[in-house]
């Protein structure tokens, strides 16, 4: 056996020998092999096995869960502010992912105000002015009807499928059902200001939480499903709360009163004419 001191003295020689030795090539070969197979092995790690889930299917399923081919909904919206609050009632019709008509029916002050969405275009209608106004792009990030929802939140429901890369990052459970946490990272040139959006989707396609992160990856806005229930034959979030995290004492809550997915909504519902006529039907 060599003493430590002698070993240290011989170390340079050892290294020189190693470099010229066949074992170097063996070493390199092994290193290459590990780096190639490593990730594959890691993927089979049981903790990460949920990666198998199809995130696109999951997210598009969650979008369609509350829409269907056609849908009709009655809901109430509570806008809570530090010094006041207001509750209004509204009705909404949707067709596929693209088209929607939302009309306020109460209180009287707001009744008749309506929002029409056709693809990525939106119009608002105010009976007091008897005029419908096409929303310019610059207004899309503004608040809708004084709530914590922006027009952008109302439009582009399938944006996650187009403008984002979806990543399954974690899993947990809710009421005994698996919940998938999915990070939606906007593509480089997507018209999205957020650093990322994080969705928590239950395996039965209910969107439990939606958090908007700024580009420092700090949470900015948060939409949470407060109550789940069955409406129109589907399990869905029946009460949703949207709030901005730096304004703790204000939020907007949307409560679904009734929902019908089997309804046959006539196509003329989603037209400008329909927007301007009929206070509510």
């Amino acid at each position: 056996m060599l003493g430590l001191g002698e070993f240290m003295m011989m170390l340079p020689l050892q290294i020189a020998g190693f470099l010229t030795h066949k074992s170097l090539w063996l070493f390199l070969f092994v290193a290459l092999l590990v780096s190639a197979i490593g990730p594959a092995l890691a993927a089979n790690d049981p903790k990460a096995s949920d990666k198998e889930i199809d995130v696109v299917a999951l997210v598009s399923g969650a979008i369609d869960q509350t829409r269907g081919k056609y849908s009709y909904a009655e809901m109430s919206m509570l806008i809570k502010r530090p010094s006041w609050q207001r509750e209004s009632t509204l009705k909404a019709w949707t067709r596929g992912r693209e088209d929607a008509l939302i009309r306020f029916i109460a209180p009287v002050r707001d009744a008749g105000n309506a929002l029409l969405k056709q693809g990525d275009r939106m119009w608002t209608y105010t009976p007091k002015l008897n005029k419908s106004i096409r929303l310019p792009g610059g207004m899309m990030s503004q608040s809708w009807a004084g709530s914590d929802f922006s027009y952008n939140d109302m439009s582009r429901s399938d944006k996650w499928l187009h403008d984002y890369r979806l990543q399954h990052v974690a899993s947990d459970t809710h009421d005994g059902k698996a919940v998938y946490v999915i990070d939606a990272l906007p593509r480089e040139d997507a018209a999205v200001v957020w650093g990322k959006e994080q969705l928590r989707i239950r395996e039965d396609l209910v969107l439990l939480d939606l958090t908007y992160f700024d580009q420092d990856m700090q949470p900015v806005r948060h939409m949470q499903a407060l109550e789940l229930g069955e409406l129109g034959g589907r399990v869905m979030a029946t009460r949703l709360r949207m709030r901005e995290l730096d304004k703790p004492d204000q939020y907007t809550e949307l409560t679904y009163r009734a929902m019908d997915f089997d309804v046959d909504v006539p196509d003329r519902t989603f037209t400008l004419f329909s927007l301007q006529s009929g206070r509510s039907r």
Partner: protein, 407 residues
């Protein structure tokens, strides 16, 4: 001639006789003229600065735009980047640049603002305020750089910074709005605040790529021309208008009439300011001379009795008055020049940045001294002295030998 020399000597002696009184008069004139010189050089500096600002803000001396663009700034009123600018040899050109300049909306996570989105060719922008920008982060690397350069004030409002993404909404050539994410390559600090709030730069080619519709392949909305001499403006505009009948050719005076108006007004302001100070001074001068004439009643009466006629007496008093004025004015101009030189680097007004910009200048007010101004105001001062001598002279002419004897 010898009479004139005699009168001159007489005047000089009279001036020297009352050293103390005349010294204060000199001092008053010198300070007034010096102060006027300084204030005029500052006003002139303001004018020059305003002119530079007007031209170096994206206007240039001459701008070419498609008809109707001013009323409806959209890409539908664009023209081709193939448009060539050539001027005859007598008119030297400092630089020509092509741009897209469109109203747009910029959003970050927290704020939304209206801005002017400007697609530039960075290498051509050495004629505009672009060259003066202090950039934190990276500047645009070229016309195909699809990142953004935004102002410091805007970055603060949007709560964003270098390396972050923002969304820009702008109307494309087909009239539909284009919405797209952009990365901020750099944040610029401009000498003034408005560009920092309003201007957002990106590469021209990259922007054309984003906005192009079925129409023009490489649309631009403006060509900006900066000449070597501002004076060639009208001739150059006429030439360009003849060469490009399909475009609207305007010089900076037409595009920024309010600034042109103010620049013109400055001349008036300088003259008014001068006469305000001078009229105050004139009263002092007249007063002193009348006093000296009254004091010398006996002496003047004796001169009259000895045969000096009224005309010579008049010339003598005027000479005295103008003499005091000339010496005072020369000293005053020297004082003014010294003060201007002492201020050579200009006055830093950045502490009042907001209000300073309201009058259209940059935050460094640099005095500008021109020989024309010095000669004009020196000459005018002497002229004022000449007319001011009317009152003491009239008083002197009334003196008769009889009056002198009665004293």
């Amino acid at each position: 001639m010898s009479t004139l020399v005699l009168l001159f000597n007489l005047s000089l002696r009279n001036i020297l006789r009352y050293r103390r009184r005349n010294f204060f008069l000199f001092a008053a004139i010198a300070v007034a003229v010096g102060g006027t010189t300084l204030s005029n050089s500052l006003i002139r500096g303001w004018q020059v600065s305003m002119l530079e600002t007007a031209v170096s803000g994206l206007t240039g001396h001459i701008k070419l735009q498609a008809p109707g663009f001013a009323d409806d700034p959209s890409l539908q009123r664009a023209f081709s980047s193939d448009t060539q600018i050539s001027l005859s040899q007598q008119i030297p050109v400092a630089g020509v640049t092509q741009r897209i300049n469109l109203p747009a909306v910029i959003s970050s996570e927290r704020e939304t603002r209206g801005v002017a989105l400007v697609g530039v060719v960075p290498t051509q922008e050495d004629i505009s305020l672009y060259r003066d920008l202090e950039i934190e982060g990276e500047g645009l690397t070229g016309a195909n750089d699809g990142r953004l350069l935004i102002g410091k004030a805007l970055a603060q409002t949007l709560q964003t910074r270098v390396g972050r993404r923002v969304v820009i909404i702008v109307q494309g050539a087909d009239g539909k709005s284009r919405e797209r994410g952009y990365r901020v390559s750099g944040v610029f600090d401009a000498p003034m605040r408005w560009p920092e709030k309003v201007l957002v730069f990106t590469g021209l080619d990259a922007l054309q790529g984003t906005l192009a519709g079925d129409g023009l392949r490489d649309p631009i909305t403006e060509i900006s021309v900066v000449l070597s001499n501002e004076g060639d403006r009208a001739a150059a505009a006429a030439e360009l208008a003849a060469a490009h009948p399909s475009l609207i050719v305007q010089d900076w005076r037409q595009m920024q009439p309010q600034i042109a108006e103010i620049v013109d007004m400055v001349e008036g302001v300088m003259v008014i300011w001068f006469f305000l100070i001078m009229s105050g001074l004139t009263f002092g001068l007249v007063n002193t001379l009348i006093a000296s004439v009254m004091q010398r009643t006996q002496e003047l009466g004796m001169l009259r009795a000895l045969g000096m006629n009224k005309r010579l007496l008049l010339v003598q008093v005027v000479l005295e008055c103008v003499g005091i004025m000339i010496v005072g004015v020369v000293a005053g101009l020297a004082l003014g020049i010294v003060m201007v030189l002492a201020l050579g680097d200009g006055i830093d007004l950045s502490a009042f940045s907001e209000s300073v910009e309201a009058i259209g200048i940059s935050t460094l007010l640099r005095p500008v001294l021109t020989v024309e101004d010095l000669l004009l105001f020196g000459g005018l001062s002497v002229l004022v002295g000449f007319f001011a001598s009317y009152f003491p002279a009239r008083r002197a002419l009334k003196i008769s030998p009889l009056m002198a004897m009665n004293r």
